[in-house]
Symmetry: C2
Subunit: 208 residues, 2 copies
């Protein structure tokens, strides 16, 4: 049944829905870029997407929801174009190498001009609006952080990370510096930089 369904063309209503969904995502991202998050409204998104307000409310409960899913969709598309699955993390057995690969991919994403403006608009809103910020993290950031934690736990099992280390805090030693440089323009972002973060975090600043 499922297999047959997947080879059949989608029924007209599904195709229409998919077209509307995409128009709504595009409108939401375009508006947040043009007028900023506070002035983006469900009405504005509906008008620009050429759909009724009710179509949006049928699928999403707020503009925050629409925008975050629109952005998530954009990020997933970009991940696939970059040739990697959005929520997969390499485990070659070499922790440093795996972390460097993932952080280099993040550098590429942060430098992708399609992301730059919408992701900054959403992040800025998250700074001043805690509830929105927490939703943003839960939807956009936490799934990636979970994968780092899983990879660090596997490294702990393999004896490559000290047993007492809390993986949730450990991952911040390389994830947060990159995030702060991007958020606050505190320094340039490059592969060399993220590679260095991984080396410093794994081996420590103090002599061994």
């Amino acid at each position: 049944m499922a297999a047959q369904k997947s080879v059949q063309p989608a029924p007209d209503s599904t195709r229409r829905s998919e077209k509307s969904r995409r128009a709504i995502y595009d409108a939401a991202l375009a508006l947040v870029v043009e007028v900023g998050y506070p002035k983006t409204t469900i009405e504005g998104i509906a008008a620009r997407a050429g759909v009724g307000k009710q179509t949006i409310y049928r699928w999403w409960s707020s503009k925050a929801d629409v925008l975050m899913e629109a952005f998530l969709d954009l990020a997933e598309q970009a991940s696939r174009e970059g040739g990697h699955e959005p929520y997969a993390f390499p485990d070659t057995g070499d922790l440093a190498a795996d972390l460097k690969v993932v952080l280099r991919a993040t550098v590429d994403e942060l430098k992708d001009p399609r992301f730059e403006v919408p992701s900054r608009a959403l992040a800025a809103q998250g700074v001043v609006d805690e509830q929105f910020g927490r939703q943003l993290v839960a939807k956009l950031l936490q799934p990636s952080l979970d994968l780092y934690m899983e990879r660090l736990r596997a490294a702990q099992d393999a004896g490559q990370v000290r047993p007492g280390i809390d993986p949730r805090i450990a991952l911040e030693l390389f994830v947060s510096p990159l995030a702060q440089r991007w958020l606050q323009h505190t320094g340039p972002i490059s592969y060399e930089y993220t590679d260095t973060l991984v080396d410093y975090a794994l081996h420590g600043l103090a002599p061994r």
Copy 2:
């Protein structure tokens, strides 16, 4: 001459200037809290402070300048109240202990309700406006980062930090995680947390 000057009461014009400066700082911080950075104007600040626009333009070239100096002044006041000089960094010879003291003081500042709203308003603007963000970092963050670098260099000279380490990147291993948790609401902030960051950064995640 200088000593005599400091015990004399300030001349009237100096006192008036000081009173105006303070009124302008208070007005600027209050406005950015109430209406946000984009809607805060020099006109609005002048009206609220009860001074002419020209008084503001005599001392500052833009609203960004006024706001950053108002915030810097607030931060310096709070530092002094907290019993520590704003731009001093302990060097007891114990790097871990010194870093923990400074980061604990930063935790206190980040949790100070007087800072919370204005510093978030400024930081959010910095996320979407690179030029503003760079000014903010240069005025508010860089002086502290310079002190971390100095302390790390002293630790390098004392053989407590490996010679090849770049202090500018090294400091991010404990400064950036705290910054990201605060900016993005990615986790709670506590003394225990910043102490842990220092231990992980100095000793590394990998077994020794």
